[in-house]
């Protein structure tokens, strides 16, 4: 068990679709976002970080330093027309720090996963003209991480603007093995390693519109600027006989340099906050992935329309003087990939619970997500994630200010 942990820490997903493109995108945000259907463009929180709109930082309590950390466990069930399989997986989600510099300026930085890659697939394909077939085994791991730095400026009491700079970096590695189903012959192993690095910039804006009786409406918008991802690829192909005693190197190339162009993505959201009891919010994002310049022989990147709906209700239990934030949400993605001419749509429902014990805020959440179909040789994924995002609140700066 321990060996498994150390060796397999690289993969934190088990999805064959993570083979495509840059891997599976992580988009459920920090803190309360995951419990609320991944909404966050129009959310503001005093005691929590929200990675989905950098302008939301200006809501932070000016005297508190927030340290956030998330962990999760995933259960993935994969199905095709005639087979089923399921896997467990767990890892930490993100690490972040956020605080107010002064009344106007706010800052946050941290590290979070951007994409996830993990799969182990075997296919048998007939060879035209022959009675034999060949086996292809594809194993992949990696994923891009994002090291980010956000700054936000409070333009006025009701409006804010924010800028987020992320350094995206990480590997995406695959080993493919091809072998004939007849006895006594050679097999070919192809190892492709990709290392990516590049910058991404997001600009965010939030406007609060006060309504009667301590309620308000928040409008939010985000745009991320196009950027480049630099890719360095190594291809190493060998041919080996069945005993492993004869190995021939067929191809050994490294330093193949490519550039992946990132398109501009947009998002907008609206939130209705009723007194301090109820929040209802909706986000819409347009990811223009059809503009991304990445080659993949199995799929095509298409524009993804993401619809998110979330709600939060504060339940006050007077006898024990505790408050529970009950959350629920819904998310629908029209799909960022076209596989076998079908859009890889996904649908998810989420639920969450937030509570505070002393200076620590706990945000529990659960997400059920479904993606893909079993027709047309596709794979259907049913995915359940259970996670905990923790915010540690500290009065760090307060001591400094007194001095």
């Amino acid at each position: 068990m321990v060996n498994n942990c150390i060796v397999n820490a690289q993969t934190n997903t088990n999805s064959p679709y993570s083979k495509l493109g840059l891997g599976d995108f992580e988009s459920m945000g920090f803190g309360r976002n995951a419990g609320m259907g991944g909404c966050g463009i129009a959310l503001r929180n005093e005691f929590g970080l929200n990675s989905l709109n950098p302008a939301s930082l200006t809501a932070l309590d000016s005297q508190v330093v927030i340290m956030e950390l998330g962990v999760h466990a995933d259960y993935t069930q994969l199905q095709t027309a005639n087979q089923k399989g399921a896997l467990w997986d767990g890892n930490f989600s993100y690490l972040a720090l956020g605080f107010a510099l002064n009344n106007r300026w706010f800052m946050s930085f941290g590290v979070a996963p951007y994409t996830n890659v993990g799969y182990n697939i075997q296919i048998t394909t007939p060879i035209s003209g022959s009675i034999y077939e060949y086996n292809t085994a594809m194993e992949g791991s990696g994923g891009l991480s994002s090291l980010y730095f956000s700054g936000a400026y409070k333009i006025s009491k009701l409006s804010s603007i924010g800028l987020n700079t992320s350094l995206l970096f990480g590997p995406k590695n695959e080993t493919q093995t091809y072998s004939l189903t007849s006895d006594d012959n050679f097999y070919v192993t192809q190892k492709v390693s990709n290392k990516y690095a590049g910058f991404k910039f997001d600009l965010g804006y939030q406007q609060t519109i006060p309504l009667a009786a301590k309620s308000n409406l928040v409008l939010g918008a985000t745009v991320n600027a196009p950027g480049y991802l630099h890719q360095r690829q190594t291809i190493f192909v060998t041919k080996t006989d069945n005993d492993g005693s004869y190995v021939d190197t067929l191809r050994d190339e490294d330093e193949i340099l490519k550039k992946v162009h990132f398109p501009i993505n947009f998002g907008c959201g609206i939130a209705y906050n009723y007194k301090e009891k109820l929040t209802i919010t909706m986000d819409y994002s347009l990811y223009r992935w059809s503009e991304i310049t990445i080659e993949d022989q199995y799929s095509e990147y298409i524009n993804n329309h993401s619809y998110n709906l979330g709600t939060e209700y504060r339940l006050k239990i007077k006898p024990i003087n505790k408050q529970f934030d009950c959350r629920a949400g819904f998310t629908y993605q029209s799909g960022y990939l076209l596989v076998n001419k079908q859009k890889l749509q996904s649908l998810g429902v989420t639920t969450g619970l937030g509570f505070q014990i002393r200076d620590v805020k706990y945000n529990l959440y659960a997400e059920y997500n479904w993606r893909g179909f079993t027709n047309n040789n596709m794979i259907r994924e049913d995915f359940v994630r259970v996670g905990l995002n923790i915010s540690l609140l500290d009065l760090w700066f307060q001591k400094r200010k007194f001095h």
Binding site: N8, T11, A73, G85, G90, N120, I127, Y132, F186, I379
Partner: protein
Amino acid sequence: MKRFRDFILLLLTTIIAGSCTDDVETYKFGKVFTSSDSKVGYLDTLTVNVSTIMLDSFVTSGYNKVVLGYNNDPFLGKTQVETYIPIGLNTSIPTLTEEAVFDSLVLVLKQDGTYSGDTNTLKEISIYRVTESIERGDDESYFYNVDSFAKEANPIATIKFKPRPLSQKSLYIHMPDSLGIKLFNWIVEGNDTIDYSDLFLEYFKGFVLIPITTDQNWSSSFYGLNSGEITEGSDDFNEVELRLYYKKPDAEANSYISFVPTSKDYIFTHYSSDRNGTVIETMQSGSFIMPSGQTNNQVFIQSGSGLAVKIEIPLLERIHEISSNITILDARLVVKPHKGTYPLASKLPNDISVYWTDKKNRMIGALTDVAGESNITGVLTANDEFDEPPYYSFYVLDYVLDKTSTEQQTDDALMLVFSGTSMATSLTQLILDDQSLSKNSFMLQLYYMTY
């Protein structure tokens, strides 16, 4: 600060506890990832050029085997195998008194189980005395398939026998009494011819055994006699023996004195053939080749006479025209005997070897597997019950890798021939179809991959 320290501890705990996964299982599905261009391809339409060649003479002594056989068919004509046996002096000749009585002189041979053909008819063989010394002038101690030595005009004995190779029946061939008495008297007298081996050899150079093939009974058959150890690993060999039977005074049964070959290594087989009227009439040894187009689209392998098949696949050198990044995963050569040229599929010869050959048809070395560890031989798939024709399959990947490599190409080709033992001590033939006569014969099945 305390808060910060707690945070780090919490972080470390969650990283360790959280980074656990199941053994990454293999999903045996994923047809969605089958790309339209298959990476592995199959090709079996390359032209394979075959020709019949004749090997230069080769050694047929040292097998301690007497082989008699004859083959007569319209493809290869008449081929005959006979065996020379030099007889020597047995060093332990007992002293005989005048009261010992000569009984008979008998040549004893034992069938060793190797044979081919019909065992139901009587076969006749004749034994001749050789008049020329069985030796090579150049001091060598090998004899070749083409060597022959002068013999008497008439045989000194003949015998008709019904072959019983599997029960390893012995043959007792009576030699003329005149010869027997002469030897007997020399022993009794203590004549020098009996005492000194070179004098004996002067007088008695040996025998040659020849099949009498005037009738049809020998058609396409051969028999092996006297070879190998009586029991494995022992020093006792089945030997050709010339036995001088006599009766000692007051003895009930006969005793005998054995004369055996001077050396079992000197027994050798001689092959001769008459190809008149066949497609290979003009065949010569050496670098002479007869492409299959000149021989009715067939090629031949025959033991003893040295017929072998030469294979060339010229387009292999151009395989990179399919793709510059191409690698061969598997290569098998499938070869089919011509229908009707063998009695039973399961009785087809099972020991075809493959050699590299140069442009002068000389054997350079055996074809091996890619690791260089084992020699390649033909694997026969034959089933007498089903109608499917039998075929041989050869794993020729090492040859294909050599011919498709980017290194300088040579004129070396492949040769199919029977194993060394078969070539020297049997009479076996194979008639094979070329590509134009039979679609699946000399078909090279290639599996390749582009990367």
